[in-house]
């Protein structure tokens, strides 16, 4: 088998991993859309804010340091202590829980029963707000995220597969971080699915996703469910923020990962958790294979962005609600 074929397989495997990274981001969108019908434009900013909070706690940064210095003329930056990673993650989770609570209290409560596009706009306002707030709180310079996950190509896999393709093939390159991300994503999805199927709160979540008024009438606290959903979405955002932030540092561009998750959502359906994973895998493989086979040699590269959307579009033409989405039943 020529080396080209094995390189193709390598691109395929890397595409799967990239897809997993996209799905991590898409999961947050799906959770919130399922439970409250809102397309949460702020999910990317939430991932950034969660990652910034984690790093801030880890390094003992003083929140709002820049603002305090500007107003009072002081020069404070750090508390002086550092926190172990595990504790910092817990605190960051607590912060996202508080965030979910405040969002529900201040925004969602007032906008019950509005049209989806109005709720979408509210999340846009929230995104703007969090962008400014996050930068004020933790500063807009780049921060290094280190939670102990190793990076770099996995030597073991590389060396042990180098025999396959002859001289031109150097072994499969799989990033260790991506492998960790895959495992974590699988665990996350399984636990989310188990949660929604087998626990009381999970059932309440599905009831709310189905019909708000019916859920209210059987006594489910709509507002409580929303707080829980946004908190879980915040947790997922934190995981996504950690995975992406470990690759390139925690800075503003991290919030742009949400754009990569959009084709995943479209393809997999807005309301399905397994759909987010399968959609992510298809998009990841599709765009990487296209770039490898056609984009780089024939079209000069950088085709991934638009091809992901074209791919989602092609799927949608045949299945307008996405692969796993709820069938749109139109009543006249």
């Amino acid at each position: 088998m020529p080396a080209e074929f094995y390189y193709g397989v390598e691109v395929f495997l890397n595409g799967l991993m990239a897809g997993v990274m996209y799905s991590l981001v898409a999961l947050g969108f799906v959770l919130i859309f399922k439970a409250s019908g809102i397309f949460n434009y702020a999910q990317g900013i939430m991932a950034l804010f969660a990652a910034m909070t984690l790093v801030g706690f880890q390094e003992g940064q003083i929140p709002f340091a820049h603002l305090i210095n500007a107003v009072f003329g002081t020069e404070v930056h750090h508390f002086g202590w550092t926190m172990p990673t595990f504790l910092a993650i817990l605190f960051a989770l607590g912060m996202m829980l508080l965030f979910a609570f405040l969002v529900e209290r201040l925004i969602l409560k007032h906008l019950v029963n509005q049209e989806p596009i109005i709720l979408f706009m509210a999340t846009i306002g929230l995104a703007y707000f969090m962008e400014g707030f996050g930068d004020l709180m933790w500063g807009s310079n780049v921060k290094r995220l280190d939670v102990g996950i190793p990076q770099g190509g996995n030597f073991w896999i590389e060396e042990n597969t180098a025999f396959l393709g002859g001289e031109e093939f150097y072994g499969f390159y799989l990033d260790t971080l991506d492998i960790y991300a895959t495992v974590i994503a699988v665990v996350l999805v399984i636990s989310l699915v188990l949660f929604s199927q087998y626990t009381k709160t999970g059932r309440a979540l599905r009831a709310v996703a189905d019909d708000h008024q019916a859920a209210l009438s059987v006594g489910i606290s709509l507002r409580g469910i929303w707080v829980i959903v946004w908190a879980i979405a915040g947790f997922v955002a934190l995981v996504a923020g950690i995975m992406w932030g470990a690759k390139s540092g925690v800075q503003f561009s991290l919030s742009l990962i949400a754009l990569k998750a959009l084709p995943v959502l479209m393809l997999g359906g807005f309301t399905s958790i397994p759909g987010a994973i399968v959609g992510g895998l298809i998009i990841g493989v599709g765009e990487k294979m296209f770039e490898f086979l056609i984009g780089a040699p024939l079209l000069g590269g950088a085709t991934e962005n638009w091809f992901a959307y074209m791919l989602a579009l092609m799927f949608l033409v045949f299945r307008p609600q996405g692969l796993f989405g709820e069938k749109i039943i139109e009543r006249v």
Partner: protein
């Protein structure tokens, strides 16, 4: 007391169906137009033109275009940035290929080109609905930006891919290029906005508008009563892209003068125009202009207040700008979910009766 409607009876169908049936409204509108056309050019300077008025006028046109598609016809589109890019590049090609062609005609022609591109990318809307349709348009957005970056023909094979608007005159006055005066560019954009807004108002009040709104409300029912969904959706895409293309052409030729497609027509533009119409009010021409004014002016005013007058450091001011704009958006949505247009409508209704309560 402001509205004196006593004695206002319409005696012909034409009078009954005019855009501003209440004469107070009509007079106020003409006064506003007179101020805009005759008074403002006398007091305008470069900063007011370039930083406040031109962005408002240009994005107002884009917002009206998107509102026709999303607000009146219900098709969510996130491709406005890409379509503005089509308008800009089409204008550039017309300007450079036909140096003697009048700039106004170039701009209208580029609107036409964009309309055709818009119809092409609107074909999936026949099958895909709702937020999912935003994908097709996002595909258009990213594909068009990549295309204009990649294919040398669009930017006349310059080394970096940036396009520059050469100097053009209209009736002896320079309206593009660096030597154009603020009054000239302001009047060009204002004229375009006035004409296009009038056309949009009448389109949406007529049978086209009714067809679009029927599709938006319940497209299957519309089909049953005889509205052709293919024609309605494609005409919505076409007209909307025409407007968005003209706004892109104006942005390039008259306002910025030099454009790099990835930065100026990226996805943030698409989102910005969508935000404008949502916060201004879907399905309303006034709403498009109000939303454009809010999202264009608010950051500039905030910046001038915070940095200029209160002397805050620029980055803190920038962060606060986001904070304030975000909270204002949420605040206005809670107060009036249907946008500024609805607020304006309610205020007008109350004003018509004031000082009586009902």
């Amino acid at each position: 007391m402001l509205y004196r409607e006593v004695g206002e009876f319409k005696t012909s169908y034409a009078a009954d169906q005019q855009t501003f049936p209440i004469s107070f409204d009509k007079i106020a509108y003409f006064i506003a137009l007179a101020i805009a056309f005759f008074v403002v050019p006398l007091v305008i300077n470069d900063y007011w033109a370039k930083a406040i008025l031109l962005p408002f006028l240009i994005f107002g046109i884009a917002a009206i275009g998107l509102n026709i598609l999303t607000g009146y016809c219900g098709q969510v589109s996130l491709g406005s940035g890409g379509f503005m890019a089509v308008g800009a590049y089409a204008c550039y090609k017309f300007m450079t290929a036909f140096p003697d062609l009048n700039l106004i005609i170039c701009i209208v022609l580029s609107g036409g080109v964009t309309a055709m591109v818009g119809i092409l990318f609107g074909l999936p809307s026949l099958r895909i609905k709702g937020f999912y349709l935003a994908v097709a348009t996002l595909a258009a957005q990213f594909f068009l930006v990549w295309l204009f970056n990649k294919v040398g023909w669009f930017y006349n094979y310059t080394a970096t891919g940036q396009i520059n608007a050469p100097e053009r005159e209209f009736l002896g006055i320079i309206i593009s290029g660096p030597n154009s005066s603020p009054e000239a560019v302001y009047l060009v954009c204002l004229s375009f906005l006035t004409v296009l807004a009038l056309i949009a108002r009448n389109l949406t009040r007529g049978s086209f508008g009714r067809k679009w709104m029927a599709i938006r409300d319940m497209d299957i029912a519309a089909e049953i009563i005889g509205v052709n969904p293919l024609m309605a959706k494609l005409t919505a895409f076409g007209v909307s892209s025409f407007y968005v293309g003209i706004s892109g052409a104006l942005l390039f030729s008259v306002f910025l003068g030099a454009v790099e497609v990835g930065e100026v027509f990226g996805i943030q533009k698409s989102f910005l125009v969508l935000f404008m119409i949502i916060i201004g009010g879907l399905g309303s021409i006034f709403g498009s202009l109000a939303g454009a004014a809010f999202l264009v002016l608010m950051p500039v005013v905030l910046k001038n207040v915070m940095v200029g007058s209160m002397g805050w450091p620029v980055d803190i001011a920038a962060h606060f700008e986001f904070l304030i704009v975000g909270s204002l958006i949420v605040f206005f949505l809670i107060v009036e979910p249907h946008g500024f247009a609805m607020l304006w409508r309610i205020i007008k209704e109350k004003l018509r009766l004031w000082p009586f309560p009902h």
